[in-house]
Symmetry: C2
Subunit: 334 residues, 2 copies
């Protein structure tokens, strides 16, 4: 293990030439002789020369690193999304630095600031559920680092974003249930800090209205999405004088937790009560009684698109204009 990794200086010295020549030779600069080029390259290889990218980046004023901040890597949706991001970015020679906010505001702030200080070239964020304040994102914008949101976006900010048409998805899901003759539909929604929560509600309300079904406020539950939260909300729903026949859930995990509550009460899934949820997680295929339908949100495509938006922000820093990309969701019935 070399105490001192090979540098251009070493190569130059051994060849009796200058650092600049070595640099140029390695870059195939046109004004360097072929003989020299070959010599330099051969020696570089035999000395296991590795360019010091830190130095290059200091010189070029960019790091080649992209930061990604998202709630949980352990949620399938996000692990698939990051794969989409990685595929696009790694191909272009960037490296992806991930940080998990765990839906926590403070962790998100810390992560975003750490990335900024580290000098990443751009940041991609899916906002934490508990984030109530946007000052950390404003800082990023002030500092001039390109920032893109995906999935959990903030539309009021001047950054480009990619998201799923939640309200359309919710509309279709509710319509699907109504068409099946189920009218008592409850909504297990998420925290109001998330834009998507509002859109989900909108889609729900719109579908009910369009089908002329009255909306019962006690059927609409918002707030936390932990297993505990879900259990409590589901208990409340089932304790109503007229419990719902169907549930539109925030996402598959929430639906699964809610289903457990139903099962404990002796309800038969897909007979006594029906579920539709967002995400369409891959392991649903192994379930005996999966949600009757799920709204596929194409996380891979969403991640990939976010990465592309970031790249295009790099390409044209001046003429850059905000883009809002909507990935159409798809109701998958089982």
């Amino acid at each position: 293990m070399p105490q001192h990794p090979t540098t251009m200086k070493d190569i130059a010295k051994q060849l009796g030439t200058s650092v600049s020549t070595v640099s140029r030779a390695l870059q195939d600069h046109p004004r360097i002789g072929n003989k020299m080029k070959e010599q330099v390259k051969a020696l570089a290889k035999s000395l296991a020369y590795i360019p010091n990218s830190t130095a290059i980046h200091l010189k070029k004023q960019k790091s080649g690193n992209i930061g990604v901040v998202l709630p949980f890597l352990t949620e399938e949706f996000f692990s698939v999304a990051i794969t989409g991001i990685e595929d696009i970015l790694v191909e272009k020679g960037y490296r992806v630095i991930v940080q998990q906010s765990r839906n926590n505001y403070d962790r998100e702030c810390t992560a975003v600031r750490a990335l900024m200080e580290h000098g990443v070239d751009g940041i991609i964020v899916s906002v934490a559920a508990e984030t109530y304040n946007h000052s950390h994102f404003l800082e990023v914008n002030q500092y001039g680092i390109p920032l893109i949101f995906f999935d959990r976006v903030i539309k009021s900010l001047p950054n480009s974003c990619v998201y799923s048409d939640i309200s359309v998805g919710a509309f279709e899901a509710v319509a699907f249930l109504l068409e099946k003759g189920l009218q008592k539909i409850a909504l297990l929604n998420g925290p109001i800090t998330l834009q998507a929560t509002n859109e989900r509600l909108q889609g729900y309300v719109e579908a009910m209205k369009q089908y002329g079904v009255p909306i019962r406020p006690q059927y609409i539950k918002g707030g936390g999405i932990t297993t505990q939260d879900t259990i409590q909300k589901m208990e409340e729903l089932l304790s109503l004088a007229e419990p719902p026949q169907a549930i539109l859930a925030f996402h598959d995990y929430v639906a699964l937790d809610a289903m457990e509550v139903c099962k404990k009460r002796g309800l038969r899934i897909n007979q006594d009560i029906f579920f539709v949820s967002f995400s369409n997680l891959s392991f649903c295929k192994y379930l005996e009684q999966p949600p009757i339908a799920s709204i596929e949100q194409f996380p891979y495509q969403m991640g990939a698109k976010a990465a592309q938006l970031l790249l295009s922000a790099f390409d044209s820093p001046e003429t850059y204009i905000r883009e809002e990309v909507i990935i159409k969701s798809k109701l998958v019935a089982r």
Copy 2:
């Protein structure tokens, strides 16, 4: 957005002092006057100064970045493991760069070399299933970058590693089945390139021997672990004159795929045929008929330990000695 981010030079100029004083003031150097420190810090704040970490790292000859290469972020085991890695490393001020090998040898080589060229301070790897050659790891060692393996380790290499005691786990799993009176136990194993595959076989063989149950070679299946591979192998097992009563599977995903084959043939899980597998995935709790037992491997702890091994490699580069940490697995019966 500042065309030119604030540097120490800017601060020094405005304060009519030198860059070194600014540098020291910001670092709370003891030999700098309190008045000066306050002035510098105040101005730094008002100018939204952010230290350029690229420059710092060039100076200090380290990047603060740690590379992690693993098969799939979308597998729960790895997404949990990376969370353990992140928690330890981020706390110490490092950033984690992830790359997915997708179990592919070429992708792994590319990823490892890219990280090396990028100048990461250390690398943590869970080896790809298809990796048959170790030269890329030797390069890392030659280059003097600390390298730690986790889960899918290479024991013949001089690097520290953390892994689960697969053979003990397999032994316990087989013993568990034998104690239940099931003797016809098949093994759905993985690719021979993985060390763990061999250990799993060892544990299986040992348990069978210890209980005096003859081993039937046709019950032992190795090779690929894709859904297709699993389906084919399971079909073969079920087509035997004496099909197995129980299966020890490579991991939960393999078990689930295999279970589907059984169900299609009309076999009742946990009645006609029993499964035990590795991983203990969280979503198993939602399954009507989960594997009767699963071997919990504690991926979070494994990731965290790998990160700690890396940190200790940083602490004492000279006196560093190889460590082999075994995380005890635990058979979870349902």
